[in-house]
């Protein structure tokens, strides 16, 4: 029929073509009456199903530890015993479970990596080990602590872990709340002189690390630049960000999280 999308000639004339390449937004879906066409409806449901699976599935910690070898790893658990509790009680996800501090021997480290499952097991499984390896390769001159793998954990858990291990700087990698178009997005939070009670304004964040977002190599470059500057200036947070205009590029959009929306607790 005329105007059918199956006709290659008409595809050439698709008035939406140049717009589709500029956004992942679900534009020009077509209509069945006033409703979504079946194809678009099912594509949406698939994306939502994947996002929910990312939230509710668990990280395979053994595999993650194997992916991180030969780096030494230590496993800890937050005070949130399971996923339903984790979702309802962000305060518990920010503290270690009662007996876990004993697993963290005090030392002296320049930098410590903590991998937290956060809200996307898939993000952690796919992206955490490659990012840690890429950073370690760039920071070989520093004293790097054992990699801590934390389950049911939120960002602030890194403060308690790093304080116990004796680290000057903690880099916490966390699975970000999945959207429909990015279920495997990893975030990285850097905190200088970590200790319980640090405010979010005292951290730097690199967001949107995944295959269609910030690449592992670019993320590692940014992260190591921030880590080096943090050590030089002995701080992280708002004050460090202001001196880093190169970090405000378009592929790092979530570095500034003031987008007019009342925020989430990470």
């Amino acid at each position: 029929m005329p105007g059918s999308k199956d006709n290659p000639k008409d595809n050439l004339k698709d008035p939406w073509a140049r717009f589709r390449s500029a956004t992942r937004a679900r534009i020009a879906l077509g209509r069945s009456g006033d409703a979504l066409p079946t194809k678009a409806l099912l594509e949406f449901q698939l994306a939502h199903a994947r996002a929910r699976d990312a939230v509710h599935s668990a990280v395979d910690i053994d595999r993650l530890a194997a992916d991180l070898a030969p780096l030494e790893t230590i496993r800890v658990h937050s005070a949130a015993p399971d996923r339903p509790t984790y979702l309802r009680r962000p305060d518990l996800g920010r503290k270690l479970a009662a007996d876990n501090a004993a697993r963290l021997p005090a030392g002296e480290w320049d930098i410590l990596f903590v991998v937290a499952d956060g809200l996307s097991a898939a993000a952690v499984q796919v992206n955490a080990a490659p990012l840690v390896h890429a950073c370690v390769a760039r920071l070989g001159h520093l004293r790097i602590g054992p990699v801590v793998l934390a389950e049911q954990a939120r960002v602030a858990l890194g403060d308690e872990v790093a304080a116990a291990l004796g680290a000057r700087l903690v880099v916490l990698l966390v699975g970000e709340r999945p959207g429909l178009s990015a279920a495997e997005s990893l975030g990285a939070y850097l905190t200088w002189d970590p200790k319980p009670g640090r405010a979010d304004s005292e951290r730097n964040c690199i967001s949107n690390i995944h295959a269609d977002g910030l690449s592992i190599a670019t993320a590692a470059d940014k992260l190591c630049w921030l880590a080096t500057e943090a050590a030089r200036r002995k701080l992280t947070g708002v004050a460090l960000k202001e001196d880093a205009p190169s970090l405000n590029g378009p592929d790092n959009q979530n570095n500034n999280q003031n987008n007019g929306r009342i925020g989430h607790d990470q």
Partner: protein, 463 residues
């Protein structure tokens, strides 16, 4: 210690203060449980409601839930209370007030006259005694009409915010979502972008782009870039085409400080935007967003339940004659509203409470991927809100916000509601659709094929 108590059989339920009565009377809600103030049994919840039902409405004028001396929102509420407007209901208990609100006597004009006499705490209290359907029916009797280039909130109409967000603020990407939305008749409340980057030059670039689209097609709409209020004030100083000033607000002074705002800063912004005189039929220049949980998230709730604190934010809003206010109800996360049942209830509460206070309430019917909710649940809430006469609903392409990573309504949803419930958009915008030849003989907005004149005129000239 005040003696709030209720005897149920052999059990005496005691409540330490009015805050505790309010918190325990609230429907079960993860945010109140997180705060440690929720009722610990279903019986206690009903006991608190029974206490509340017998309380005189004027109790809330005598016992502040957040201290007057240390909170400017409480001072605003108490100092601006209109005792004359309150008089018709001044003798009632909260329970009697519910019965009266549902009565035929409480009609649209009566409720409009009453609004300045009500405080957020009174309204929150009565909402705790209402079922969802009560919330719909009372809200449907309220009418709050505001104007800038369109008239929003007229009875029998349903407006919408077009939200064309893009993860990197790409102009072509934003234009794509905007033009797509216009083809569904979306945007008569506002075309409003959440910027990925909150700085003055980026904000000005987006404002100029939206203004160019508006003037090119001569569309009667207003635009907004939802940057921080201080960013928008600077954009105004640099001559940017600012229609509306946006800000997230909350129900206590401390929570507002967490957002970086005070009442005086909001007043300054309102004055700056009004001075531009860009509205053609009205000067409602403010746009606010709110949401249950924001005060607790900022550790600024002072032991008050999240729904009551939320309602206090509407007192902040109404002091600045906003064009638009919306709750972002399912956005803030399951630690505050756990599932669809809680989100649905909160959306209906927020809408009715705002309307009773005279606030032009809309809603972002939405959820995040870690909440127990899906699009079926949004169908229920959007239909109930539209029936309740919500001023506007937010819509994004295919219900998927690719920048904020959550699900709202789709353009399809709002258009479908308009046709189903016979609620056209704002009259100025509807006239524009009509003049452009986009409506069919039944005044519906049909699907226009990609190769139709309607689509090619819109897309072809938007280089």
């Amino acid at each position: 210690m005040a003696n709030y108590h209720c005897d149920l059989g052999r059990q005496r339920h005691r409540f330490d203060d009015l805050k505790a009565v309010m918190a325990c009377a609230s429907p079960r809600r993860s945010g109140d449980e997180l705060a440690g103030i929720a009722a610990d049994s279903d019986e206690r919840r009903v006991a608190a409601r029974m206490v509340l039902a017998d309380l005189p409405l004027k109790s809330f004028l005598n016992e502040a839930l957040v201290a007057y001396e240390t909170d400017e929102v409480t001072r605003l509420i108490i100092d601006s209370h209109d005792a004359a407007a309150f008089r018709p209901v001044a003798h009632m208990t909260v329970g009697q007030f519910r019965d009266w609100l549902l009565s035929y006597e409480a009609d649209t004009a009566t409720l409009a006259a009453l609004a300045p006499g009500l405080t957020p705490e009174m309204v929150a209290a009565v909402s705790k005694l209402m079922r969802n359907h009560d919330l719909v029916c009372v809200a449907a009797k309220c009418s709050v009409v505001t104007r800038f280039r369109t008239t929003v909130g007229l009875p029998g109409r349903l407006s919408s915010r077009l939200q064309p967000n893009h993860p990197t603020d790409d102009p072509t990407g934003i234009a794509a979502s905007t033009l797509d939305g216009l083809l569904y008749g979306i945007g008569d409340a506002v075309i409003g972008i959440n910027p990925a980057t909150d700085n003055v030059p980026a904000c000005i670039a987006l404002l100029e782009m939206l203004d160019a689209v508006r003037t090119r097609f001569d569309i009667p709409v207003q635009s907004c870039v939802l940057a921080h209020v201080t960013t928008t004030i600077q954009a105004i100083e640099r001559g940017a085409p600012v229609d509306l000033v946006f800000q997230s607000i909350a129900g206590t002074e401390k929570a507002n400080r967490g957002f970086g705002v005070t009442l005086s800063l909001l007043a300054e912004a309102q004055e700056a935007a009004r001075a531009l005189k860009r509205g053609t039929i009205g000067d409602n220049v403010m746009y606010f967003e709110t949401g249950q949980g924001s005060a607790l998230s900022a550790d600024a709730h002072f032991g008050v339940d999240q729904q009551t604190v939320e309602t206090r934010a509407y007192a902040v809003a109404r002091a600045f004659d906003p064009l638009l206010v919306n709750t972002v109800v399912g956005f803030i996360g399951p630690e505050y509203l756990f599932d669809a049942k809680q989100i649905t209830r909160a959306g209906l509460e927020d809408h009715m409470c705002a309307k009773l206070l005279g606030v032009p309430m809309g809603c972002d019917v939405c959820y995040t991927n870690h909440a127990e909710a899906d699009q079926d649940d949004m169908d229920v809430l959007m239909t109930m809100l539209a029936t309740a006469g919500v001023n506007f609903l937010i819509a994004v392409p295919g219900a998927d916000d690719v920048m904020l990573n959550y699900q709202s309504l789709s353009y399809h949803d709002v258009l479908g509601l308009r046709h189903l419930l016979k609620r056209p958009p704002a009259p100025e915008f509807e006239a524009w659709l009509d003049k452009a030849g986009w409506l069919d003989e039944q005044r519906r907005l049909p699907p226009w094929p990609d190769r139709s004149l309607v689509v090619s005129a819109l897309l072809g000239s938007a280089a």
